[in-house]
């Protein structure tokens, strides 16, 4: 891009003396905004750490893994069942939603007529905009009684996975759609001129070219699934137990915070902040993973 620099006639360079320097204002407004945004994230982390410290200093991290149960009012703080609940619900929904989302994006980009593809895209966007509590309410009054008939009690890991799948499907579908849309037109023309079938083109040209976008999409949806609270709280049963089957109830870390925070005092409250800190750590790891994948495997980065 540097070769363009002397060809651009920036008004701020040409008329510095006569005109007000808007570029300067813009740059500083953006810098201040960025600083505020960064500060907010840092303050949240510092706040979480400060609120967790009373517990961590007195009891350390041991009770979260070695106590027999999670009964904070009796001084027992084992949160591993909830860690498992969070991981299983998240992984389950991502494993189901990813292929569905990618297939839906393929249909949208390559198989649907243009008008239908656009309509379909709008519908998926609409699905992404529905508030999570609506999904949760639907799950509670429709899905849970349905599963209950199959295998009581109904409120279960399965219900959570289904609800989460429906919720994260739009995200993965839209991100996949966008990354397919960014596959250079020449690649597709080249594949067609070589006589590749549509499916052959998708498998051997589109997927490798869109790989990094798809990975990032998956990681974004993992983040969304981990953070989801209300819908999961309403359908998962919220019993603190490591599930042994898909019909067992689970409680996720986020649901635990939402259920107990308003009623927690002292060590209990502090322990909930520790679980918040643990969630934050997972999200940070995911963000780092997304960054690494984007940097190392993006063909766009390599070429430029």
């Amino acid at each position: 891009m540097t070769w363009l620099e002397d060809k651009i006639s920036s008004p701020s360079k040409l008329n510095k003396s006569s005109q007000f320097d808007w570029d300067w204002v813009l740059v500083w407004v953006l810098r201040i905004m960025a600083a505020i945004t960064g500060a907010i994230v840092l303050l949240i982390v510092i706040f979480l750490i400060l609120e967790s410290l009373p517990f961590l200093l007195v009891k350390g991290i041991g009770p979260f893994f070695t106590d027999p149960t999670w009964n904070p009012t009796e001084g027992l703080y084992n949160f591993t069942p909830m860690l498992w609940g969070t991981l299983l619900a998240t992984m389950g929904s991502v494993v189901v939603a990813t292929p569905l989302g990618i297939i839906s994006a393929l249909f949208c980009q390559y198989y649907a007529p243009v008008a239908m593809g656009n309509l379909y895209r709008r519908l998926i966007e609409l699905l992404a905009g529905i508030p999570s509590v609506v999904y949760g309410f639907w799950g509670l009054v429709v899905l849970v009684p349905l599963i209950n008939r199959l295998h009581p009690p109904g409120a279960s890991l399965l219900a959570g996975i289904i609800i989460l799948t429906i919720m994260i499907l739009p995200t993965i579908a839209l991100v996949a759609d966008a990354s397919f849309g960014k596959v250079p037109q020449e690649y597709l023309l080249g594949a067609t001129s070589l006589g590749l079938s549509k499916w052959g083109t998708i498998c051997n040209v589109v997927f490798p070219a869109a790989k990094s976008g798809l990975f990032t999409g998956v990681i974004l949806t993992v983040g969304r699934a981990i953070g989801e609270t209300m819908a999961v709280l309403m359908v998962c049963g919220n019993v603190v137990e490591t599930p042994s089957s898909i019909f067992d109830p689970i409680r996720t870390l986020t649901a635990n915070i939402a259920l107990e925070m308003a009623y927690a005092l002292g060590n209990h409250r502090s322990a909930l902040f520790v679980s918040g800190l643990a969630l934050m750590a997972i999200i940070v790891l995911l963000a780092v993973a997304a960054e690494v994948i984007t940097v190392t495997s993006s063909p766009v980065t390599k070429n430029s």
Partner: protein
């Protein structure tokens, strides 16, 4: 992905701006208006909200802000002086009586609920204990049909749970629950959606939902029917006082409001919430 991060930045800028805007709009109070902040139990809040509305109507210079968040929040907010008055849905514990002033404004009962299609008419206290501990796990053992029991429990820290545990002399770690719920409404929805569930919610809340046609029914506790009538006359054993608390001996506006909330002027409001009015003398 470059486009994505740009979008994110835009989003952050917009949300920061919205945040700044809303900061600028607060704090426009005229000095003549007196404010009272009340926080705490979601069981007490609807009643206090009604009382506050009537109090505001009679005293135009007063604004009362009622927020929910549970009894524990009520206590924490009063201790840290965030709120002037706290609401708790139980009697004050011994260790709290030294630090706080409590004033009972009404009484409420906790009823055991099952699905309305459940043939079981009555279960005694021992059976409730056995069901909640997982020793009885099929309805046929207490005279119902052959179906597994879905035990619905409340989340840790809720005053309904505390009162339930105290009455049945259980510890929460002994309870083998299949579903854990947050508020009363989630409880009634869960039981209504599961023919084999058993749960417990505020009698007032349950009666309201039954009137709305939700398919649940209340079981007697200790042989006493769970109705607002038996809670009102004090014969229903599983009941609790709804209390408002202050940090110091109330004075001024706080004292006026508490006296108003305990007076006969609001008894119709208390009854309107399916609660029993409480006489101090």
């Amino acid at each position: 992905m470059i486009i994505n991060s740009n979008n994110l930045t835009k989003l952050f800028i917009t949300s920061t701006m919205i945040g700044l805007q809303s900061c600028g709009q607060s704090g426009q109070n005229t000095p003549t208006i007196q404010k009272l902040t009340i926080t705490g139990s979601s069981t007490v809040a609807p009643l206090v909200g009604e009382i506050a509305k009537r109090f505001e109507a009679e005293n135009s210079e007063v604004r009362i802000d009622v927020q929910t968040g549970g009894s524990s929040r009520g206590i924490a907010d009063v201790e840290s002086a965030v709120a002037d008055i706290g609401m708790v849905s139980r009697a004050l514990k011994e260790e709290e009586k030294g630090k706080l002033y409590g004033f009972v404004i009404a009484k409420d009962g906790i009823g055991i609920i099952v699905h309305s299609s459940n043939p079981v008419k009555e279960i005694n206290d021992e059976q409730v204990v056995a069901i909640y501990q997982g020793e009885i796990d099929n309805w046929k053992e207490v005279g119902g049909k052959d179906a597994p029991i879905t035990v619905v429990n409340k989340a840790e820290g809720r005053s309904t749970l505390e009162l339930f545990l105290k009455y049945f002399q259980l510890k929460n770690s002994q309870i083998k629950a299949k579903v854990v719920i947050g508020d009363n409404q989630q409880g009634t929805k869960t039981v209504a959606g599961n023919e084999n569930a058993i749960g417990y919610v505020s009698v007032g809340a349950a009666e309201y939902e039954i009137d709305q046609g939700v398919p649940i029914k209340l079981l007697p506790v200790g042989g006493v029917e769970a109705t607002s009538e038996t809670v009102r006359d004090g014969s229903f054993p599983l009941s609790r006082p709804l209390t408002v608390i202050t940090k110091n001996q109330p004075e001024g506006l706080t004292e006026e409001f508490i006296q108003f909330a305990q007076s006969e002027e609001v008894h119709d409001l208390v009854r309107g919430q399916n609660l029993i009015p409480f006489q101090t003398k």
